[in-house]
């Protein structure tokens, strides 16, 4: 909307009618556009940014990103900027730290660039998308083998408080690579409402593995105004889009924690008096989340790719809570972490059954990973789901009473968890190695139980 610039000629308005939470209601304003950016100066000279949410011929409802404390009805001054919220984008932003609105937070000057982009982006024409098919090897068996990540995918981590989601995300960022190419991923990291320690952990981990120069960070921490969280992931994705589609880079975007984002959204919705749907979240939570998650992918016009890995903590580990629920409907699968497994000392505690990668089917198999990969994965899932049933049976009748075949399944379950899923935080397994471990576990089971793998595959990998 830059074309309608300079409408206001630096005109300033004084005084606001109402201040209500993060919202400010202004009267007697003219020529204001929907979604326009506003600069609001508090009486003490503090300048904050805001955005128009609702506008009529002479009133405007503005949400203030910096919070409304110290604003007063009389002496507040506002200037409409004639464009919507934009951030500067440049390759040089890699290696830097910014706040949620793209302003430097590392004490260095703002990046030198003429490129400014609207943080909301534009919807990609589905016709212009390239279907993601390139296998990313994360070096983690439970992901590579069972829930494969593909370049251009959006694959969230569903976690809970106290679970090692940050360590897993850092491990992926450290180890992710394509099988046949040696391109480094550029990493764009967005943190909303997380504690300082968490941000610190990521900085340290990027530093240790020597990728920090390749990381752009957008931080809106727990003590920053909550409304800023609404923009943080969008700023990060705007830079990611520039790096991917304009500079041809392959970008991995890590966003943490989406639950905090949704809470900020709920706060605004409540302040506006909107009709809530589930658990007080607004009815448009799905569309709002989609407007971010859908910014992952590849374009057929070429260029790089955006792979998204949002992290969210499920309140009281409830996967049917609106945030994980709606996320799961939009993203292409989910990596679910399991508290019970973690307590048994399994790292990474990736829950076998509820985890899923929807793009896996096209990223693996012949010519991509190995011919038998799809079948092995399917067989492991089928067998592991039997293990779960048998375990619950065993808890009733006791392990001794189980039939011989069920005993074998119990043994398979143990081995699968301890050798395939479980691995070290710095252990980087090749896909060949992961497949070998998968077959090793399957060898515990008798041949006729393995219906999902083909006869030839059995001959090649089972009988040897």
């Amino acid at each position: 909307m830059s074309e309608i610039n300079a409408k206001h000629d630096g005109l300033q308005y004084t005084g606001v009618k109402n201040i209500d939470g993060p919202l400010v209601f202004m009267e007697n304003v003219h020529g204001v556009a929907y979604d326009e950016l506003v600069e609001v100066a508090a009486p003490n000279g503090d300048v904050r940014l805001g955005q128009v949410l609702d506008v009529t011929a002479d009133t405007a409802l503005v949400q203030i990103f910096g919070g409304t404390d110290a604003l007063s009805k009389a002496n507040t001054r506002a200037r409409f900027l004639g464009h919507s919220l934009q951030i500067p984008v440049a390759k040089e932003m890699l290696g830097r730290v910014f706040d949620g609105l793209g302003r430097p937070k590392d004490g260095l000057p703002a990046p030198m660039t003429r490129e400014y982009r609207d943080v909301n982006g534009e919807p990609v024409n589905p016709f212009s998308r390239e279907y993601p098919r390139d296998f990313i090897q994360t070096g983690i068996s439970s992901i590579d083998l069972m829930n494969t990540l593909v370049r251009g995918q959006k694959l969230p981590i569903f976690s809970g408080n106290g679970l090692p989601h940050n360590r897993i995300a850092a491990q992926i960022a450290r180890q992710a690579k394509l099988l046949n190419e040696d391109v480094q991923f550029a990493i764009v990291f967005a943190a909303m409402g997380v504690k300082f320690d968490v941000a610190r952990f990521f900085v340290d981990s990027f530093e240790q593995s020597g990728v920090l120069r390749n990381v752009a960070m957008f931080l809106s921490l727990a003590d920053d105004p909550s409304v800023e969280r609404m923009i943080t992931p969008r700023s990060a994705l705007t830079l990611a889009e520039y790096l991917a589609y304009d500079c041809g880079m392959h970008v991995l975007v890590i966003i943490t924690d989406m639950t905090n984002y949704c809470e900020a959204l709920r706060e605004i919705a409540t302040a506006r008096g909107e009709i809530p749907s589930r658990k007080g979240y607004p009815g448009y939570l799905y569309s709002d989340l989609a407007s971010m998650y859908e910014r992952a992918g590849r374009l057929s016009a070429g260029g790089g790719s955006i792979t998204q890995m949002p992290i969210l903590t499920m309140p009281s580990d409830d996967i049917s809570h609106p945030v994980p629920d709606l996320t799961g409907y939009i993203t292409e699968g989910q990596i679910v972490l399991d508290r019970e497994m973690y307590q048994r000392g399994i790292y990474p505690p990736v829950a076998g059954l509820p985890s899923l990668s929807r793009l896996m089917k096209d990223g693996i198999g012949k010519g991509r990973t190995r011919d038998d990969h799809p079948h092995v994965a399917s067989q492991l899932f089928a067998a592991y789901s039997k293990v779960k049933d048998i375990r619950s049976l065993a808890s009733v009748i006791g392990t001794e009473e189980l039939s011989q075949i069920d005993q074998l399944y119990m043994k398979f379950g143990e081995k699968f968890e301890s050798t395939v899923i479980s691995q070290g935080e710095y252990e980087n397994r090749s896909i060949e190695e992961s497949l070998r471990l998968g077959w090793e576990a399957l060898k515990i089971l008798p041949r006729e139980e393995l219906l999902r793998v083909s006869e030839e595959e059995l001959k090649e990998h089972y009988d040897c």
Partner: protein
């Protein structure tokens, strides 16, 4: 042209004054960017407009241009193989203009007016034509003959008619004169129809034939009739889209309209990439030649999502009127309902259940009721079958969209989380699904001289018994059950692995012909009946488990080709021979 003035903007909802001449549902162009919108409410001189594009940057004071017509789609040859957004803008043509993103105010015509089509009239000068009657034919794709029809509300004697030849969208093909009123009409290749209004037909007919889909669990257990409506509810990750896509690929319809409504962009890309490469087993042509895609992904404007399902079903009705069987896949109707909820919230309407507007059931009904088998105006028969995916929050089927949907459909394919977790696809639960089309389809199968219904009963009974037995087995362990009940558990496992589960990536198993399905059903039914006899005569489960070719039977879905009669008979004979051997032992022993 009438003009109004914007007075308020709130997301996709815009209010404008000086609009006293506009009607509800009229199309307008909003602001200097001329964004497409539709009037949804008029109060005095103030009209409320829902805008189908992103409204960022609009200002009060900008103009609103009225068009005087309702939101309509353009109908004619060239629709097949295309991908449109919710308001029928051709996404492929827009992409060719250079940008990978959808710019606002984009106005590309839905159909290429300049493209020449080879038209052949089938009527002659002086014939009296009624609306809906066929004027002539165009070979739209190799497999689909497009019938050019007299548009609704047009009638009269043909006063002018072009000879067979090449014509484009600008040409008049014939002129009609209505002798009763004196009115004259000219008819071209293309016509328009308002999306929210069902296209007329002579009569609704009762449903008869099943819509065969090549999915065994559907065709055998929960069949959908041609002209029927079905819902696929399921939590995330249970395979709604996978099932929808499998149906779109293999179901026995002449035309497929696939509506991606508020879902992922990559899914549409997948369809676009995959369908042209797949071959329709019935025509031998590419599947894309019979498919129209409507894509309004979740990040595209929410108001256009609301209208996309009407756009899709109108296109379907148009092909139905040519006398074809059309299937509409809507993925997902929950996103459509959420669009309704969002717009309703912005209009500050009083909410009913979970914030959804009170008219939700009404709107759902008006969508699903457009499915049906009709006698068309031209005297032929056509059907529109509707399959709607439902995405209940938390996988809980008691929520409003699922609940209201079940009132208007007669076929319910419930997706099951546990099946999906075990990667048993399609994860259609045999416990919670139902089809009310069983009587109709059973009658149809009977005509093909097959005892489909009895065999279905045998398999279904085993599965039901198994559900009950599992409860006991969970307490005492399966080994504590008597031999006969353990047999039930054993054969239920075979039914699940060998029959219900279907691998949509397997070259053979992805599509199962009706013939092969019937054969598989018969083989399993016989196997079950005979095994039970053996157990009754004192045989053991171990003997039955020992049958050498069991493994082949378990793998028959992917090892035996759809038309490989020889392999079928051979496997059948080997299994029966082994069963014979076992049962002989026991009958002899008895003597």
């Amino acid at each position: 042209m009438d003009k109004g003035i914007i007075i308020r903007i709130n997301g996709p909802i815009v209010e404008a004054r000086q609009m006293e001449h506009t009607g509800v549902l009229e199309v307008v162009e909003v602001g200097n960017l001329r964004l497409i919108g539709e009037v949804i409410r008029v109060r005095g001189a103030v009209a409320t407009i829902q805008v189908y594009e992103i409204s960022s940057g609009l200002r009060p004071g900008e103009p609103v241009f009225c068009s005087g017509r309702p939101l309509s789609v353009c109908l004619g040859p060239g629709l097949l193989g295309k991908i449109y957004d919710g308001i029928q803008r051709p996404l492929s043509e827009i992409a060719k203009k250079g940008s990978s993103f959808i710019a606002r105010g984009e106005k590309t015509p839905a159909l290429d007016l300049d493209r020449k089509w080879s038209f052949k009239p089938i009527v002659k000068l002086g014939d009296v034509m009624e609306a809906g009657q066929v004027l002539g034919e165009v070979q739209e794709t190799e497999s689909v003959l497009h019938r050019v029809m007299i548009p609704p509300r047009h009638r009269g004697r043909i006063t002018k008619l072009v000879p067979a030849g090449e014509y484009d969208g600008h040409d008049t093909l014939c002129e009609l004169q209505d002798d009763a009123t004196g009115a004259t009409y000219s008819v071209g290749l293309f016509q328009y129809w308002p999306v929210r209004q069902p296209r007329p037909s002579q009569a609704r007919l009762p449903l008869e034939a099943p819509l065969l889909t090549g999915l065994r669990v559907v065709d055998t257990f929960f069949p959908l009739a041609k002209g029927g409506a079905a819902a696929i509810p399921g939590g995330f990750g249970t395979g709604k889209t996978m099932t929808q896509q499998a149906l779109a690929k293999w179901c026995e319809a002449k035309i497929i309209v696939y509506i991606g409504c508020g879902e992922r962009g990559n899914e549409m890309t997948e369809v676009l990439r995959e369908f042209p490469e797949l071959v329709d087993p019935r025509t031998g042509r590419s599947l894309m030649e019979r498919t129209i895609l409507i894509a309004n992904t979740s990040n595209m404007p929410v108001a256009a999502r609301e209208v996309s399902i009407y756009t899709g079903i109108t296109l379907a009705e148009y092909y139905r009127d040519m006398g074809y069987d059309v299937a509409v896949m809507a993925d997902s109707t929950s996103r459509w309902a959420e669009a309704l909820r969002e717009l309703s919230g912005r209009l500050e309407e009083m909410p009913a259940d979970e914030g959804f507007p009170a008219y939700l059931p009404n709107r759902l009904a008006s969508f699903y009721e457009r499915a049906g088998r009709v006698a068309t105006l031209s005297g032929s028969e056509g059907t529109v079958s509707v399959i709607g995916a439902v995405s209940p929050p938390g996988g809980d089927f008691s929520e409003p969209v699922t609940q209201h949907t079940t009132r208007f459909i007669r076929c319910f394919w419930a997706l099951d989380r546990d099946l999906a977790n075990a990667r048993h696809y399609p994860a259609i639960s045999w416990r919670n699904s139902y089809s009310e089309y069983l009587p109709e389809t059973a009658a149809w199968w009977r005509k093909s001289a097959m005892n489909w219904h009895d065999q279905r009963e045998i398999l279904m009974n085993v599965l039901q018994e198994e559900t009950n037995l599992q409860r006991i087995a969970k307490l005492v362990g399966p080994d504590a059950l008597p031999e006969g009940q353990r047999l039930t558990l054993f054969v239920a496992e075979i039914i699940k692995n060998a029959f219900l589960q279907q691998n949509s990536f397997d070259a053979i198993d992805m599509y199962c012909s009706p013939k092969k399905q019937l054969w598989m059903m018969a083989l399993l039914a016989t196997f079950i009946t005979r095994s039970r006899e053996i157990i009754k005569n004192g045989g053991t489960l171990a003997e039955i488990r020992g049958i050498k070719d069991l493994d082949r039977m378990n793998r028959m879905k992917s090892e035996i080709k759809n038309d490989d009669q020889a392999a079928m008979s051979s496997l059948e004979q080997r299994i029966f021979a082994e069963l014979d051997a076992i049962s002989n032992q026991h009958t002899n022993y008895g003597k």
